[in-house]
Amino acid sequence: MVFTETKRYYVERRITERMVATSNPSFSGYFAYLRSELRDEVEQFINAFTVNETYFYREDHQLDCLSTDLLQERVATKRPGDPIRIWSVPCSTGEEPYSIAIWLLENWKEVDAYDIEIVGSDIDTRVLEAAAEGIFGKRALMRLSPELVGRYFHELGDDRWQILDDLRQSVRFSRVNLIETRETRPQGRFDVIFCRNVLIYFDDESRRVAAENLYDNLMPGGFICLGHTESMSRISPLFEVCRYSGAIVYRRPQELRA
């Protein structure tokens, strides 16, 4: 992660939070504490620095592209009953993987004909716990119609809604650091990866490593969707650019035959 001068306030605020939380009045005291690796402080520190703000159906033109183009293309070489694997990384508190599940239920008429596996991963263990719990506030649901909220959530009161148990069970969550190959590789290969708005926080070297890991995690012919301001072409030459009416996505080329 690289923080420029404009992010100084953000960095100071997060470090101050951790100093208060660990009762360290001075930075040098906190730094020594962090170095000592006591009480998972390194993990807490990482958690404090990861940004968690998202909502359901964010960038839904990509979801549209998923059901109208990407999956149609993926199933062309599959048989009914075969697995389709979709990875949401980073998944934050679960809005994206659950959005994918709801979108497919609503918009993809073959949702019961394939063994769809949706995996949500994040480096931050706190958000993963929240994601598995599946409780959301009004803001996270603002883009969903009242019908959709009624169909897939139950109201808990106090402007909080919990996603239905079946949907919670349909997404698996795991902790993954995108630049650690030993953590990305065990996730296996996917048909489609959503990796939105995270590579922008990495420096050039980490971004290149992450791109290579993501390439590894794609099946040949599999797709990766980035945030709409991001471009894989500037990061890695490994991928093909695919232009669909709804979105630009990147593809791992089909394996060359000798």
Partner: protein
């Protein structure tokens, strides 16, 4: 829709996403829906509650759909006659024949459109074996 009101359907599938897909389709058509994750769980539910129809996936762990319907039909129980629709991703004749000889009322090939599912559910709810 009103003719379906109060009719109870048991969805049996190990995939949570599929159960949700079928549940939303059936609930929108006025049915009451319960779920089970495999044939064994479905048998337990059928013994404890009354259902008008079971919609059962063929391919499940612990007890598959064919074994489920055969077991159900072989017992002399009040629930042994509940109508069963088998769903499968196999379009070939083998599974369909196996489903029929085990005692299923009908065989649906996945993908099943939500409207189709609701239509067949209405037809087979409470149908004689």
């Amino acid at each position: 829709m009103t003719q379906n009101a109060g009719k109870r359907i048991l969805i049996v599938d190990d995939a949570a996403l599929v159960r949700t897909y079928y549940r939303t389709a059936l609930e929108q058509s006025g049915f009451l829906v319960e779920e089970a994750l495999n044939g064994l769980e479905a048998l337990e539910k059928l013994l404890m509650q009354t259902f008008d129809l079971a919609i059962v996936d063929i391919n499940m762990p612990h007890m598959d759909g064919i074994t489920f319907v055969r077991t159900l039909r072989s017992k002399e129980l009040p629930v042994s006659g509940v109508p069963v629709l088998i769903t499968s991703t196999e379009a070939g004749p083998q599974d369909a024949a196996a489903a029929r000889s085990a005692g299923a009322n009908f065989y649906l090939v996945k993908p099943v459109r939500q409207e189709t599912l609701a239509e067949y559910a209405a037809i087979f709810c409470g149908a004689p074996r």
